[in-house]
Amino acid sequence: MQFEGIMNQTQSVQQAASKQAWEPKIVAFLCNWCSYAGADLAGVSRIQYPCNVRVIRVPCSGRINPAFLLRALQNGADAVLVSGCHPGDCHYISGNLVARRKFALLKALLQYVGIEPERVQFTWVSASEGGRFAAIIEKVVEQVRKLGPNGRLAKRL
């Protein structure tokens, strides 16, 4: 339900924004142990990065079912980003390594059916990489801005 809440909130922000210009909205699934802490560090370190991201904290990147990402896109996210611990650093030893395979296949499949590859992005960010987190968000937002709104998977209600 937390997720619905975020999407609703995002939608109202979006509706307010749509009166002016379209702004990409990115849903980021961050693992609790590394990437969420990395994002937090970016915040406390006052590193500037675009405010287009809504964060969902998950226990581990290995917990993410591809269906979650598709659901975010269906609910109007312009892109999703998943970030976990670097290989070897997973709190649960290998959750991120198993996830890596899942994500590779997801990305390949979406590209295959004609979804722009930039709509689903994956990366590793450690707890100490606040700068890297900000730089990745910058890149994702920039790429999605170029792509425009997610017209293919978003459901029109």
Partner: protein, 336 residues
């Protein structure tokens, strides 16, 4: 009641005229060669080579997704019901008969279903008699026949060069009189020939024993055979979704941030979730109970409630079952 006649070559003109009054849906072949009831645009060439459509035309009256109303800022907004007339041309008699059955559920109750009622009111159904039934057809055993127009407004019968048109309802009369300049009276010999063809088709249809099913099924409720007849069922909904009389539905909300809709969508008694209670209790927990419900509903409860089986013998469930189950065989095995 006089039969009218129109030549096959003039049929496009007739359909074009009907298009002036509203949407006309008629059989067009898709890229795979399947005939599909499609809304005609000006230059479409209809095809009468089909035996029947993959999907039953029930979706014209009971669409798979029906928006009941919209939510706008958390408030309900009733949708405007369609007021445009629609002609559906080429419905097979079994499917027209199924519409008559659906009327019993959606129009004869204490409360009419407003969406169904409006669609039914605005839809003129032109049935096309069958001359080439399939081996999976058994309409004649469930109260229908290849030349039965019940449920339709107009019945069309095919001849080599012509189509005979017979109005069956006031709506059908109105439709035919609106295009009377394109029609001529059919000669008695032509009518006889068309009827002979229907009779020949009728003879090709193998009978299935359904008479007295309500009585026999009322004794079969506790039969151990339900477990064996249902054991290879995969629990998909193909049979229900293709069935022209199956009408069970679900109601769900699709809402984002206070905006969205309440929709009804087809549902199916073969699904375990269909009867699952919030508490976790399920009154029909296995395929055995669910198959029994399917058969009982069609061949006993419907007869008790509406005086007719809710099966029109179109055979879609037989042709499309992924594991080759045949409702005729099930009826026989269970002792109907």
């Amino acid at each position: 009641m006089t039969e009218k006649r129109i030549s096959h070559t003039d049929l496009p003109r007739l359909l074009a005229r009907l298009r002036e009054r509203g949407a006309v849906h008629a059989p067009l072949e898709d890229e795979t060669g399947d005939a599909v009831l499609t809304e005609l645009s000006s230059d479409d060439l209809i095809s009468l080579r089909y035996r029947n459509f993959r999907l039953s035309p029930k979706s014209f009256l009971l669409p798979q997704n029906q928006v009941l109303f919209r939510f706008q800022d958390g408030k309900e907004e009733e949708p405007a019901l369609p007021d445009r007339e629609m002609v559906v041309f080429g419905v097979r008699p079994c499917d027209a008969k199924a519409m008559q059955a659906l009327d019993k559920v959606f129009l004869d109750g204490d409360q009419n279903d407003p969406y169904y009622a409006r669609a039914r009111e605005k839809t003129v159904v032109i049935a096309l008699a069958c001359t080439r039934p399939l081996s999976s057809c058994f309409c004649t055993s469930v109260g229908g026949g290849p030349g039965d127009g019940a449920g339709a407004d107009v019945l069309a019968l095919e001849l080599d060069a012509d189509l005979l048109l017979r109005a069956l309802t006031p709506g059908g009369e109105r439709l035919l009189s609106s295009v009377r300049d394109l029609l001529c009276d059919a000669a008695p010999s032509a009518v006889k020939e068309a009827e002979d063809r229907v009779r020949a088709a009728e003879e090709q249809i193998a009978p299935v024993k359904v008479d007295g099913s309500a009585q026999r099924l009322s004794n079969a409720y506790d039969s151990p055979l339900w477990a064996s007849v249902s054991q290879k069922c995969l629990g998909c909904g193909t049979c229900s979704f293709l069935c022209p009389t199956c009408h069970c539905f679900d109601i769900t909300d699709e809402v984002r941030g206070g905006t969205g809709r309440r929709v009804r969508t087809w549902d199916c008694c073969a699904y375990p979730l269909f009867t699952l209670h919030g508490s976790g209790h399920n009154p029909r927990p296995t395929p055995k109970e669910r198959w029994r419900q399917r058969i009982m509903h069609k061949f006993r409860y419907a007869i008790e409630n509406f005086g007719r089986p809710f099966c029109v013998g179109c055979g879609r469930c037989i042709r499309s079952c992924p594991v080759g189950m045949d409702i005729r065989t099930v009826l026989k095995e269970i002792g109907v």
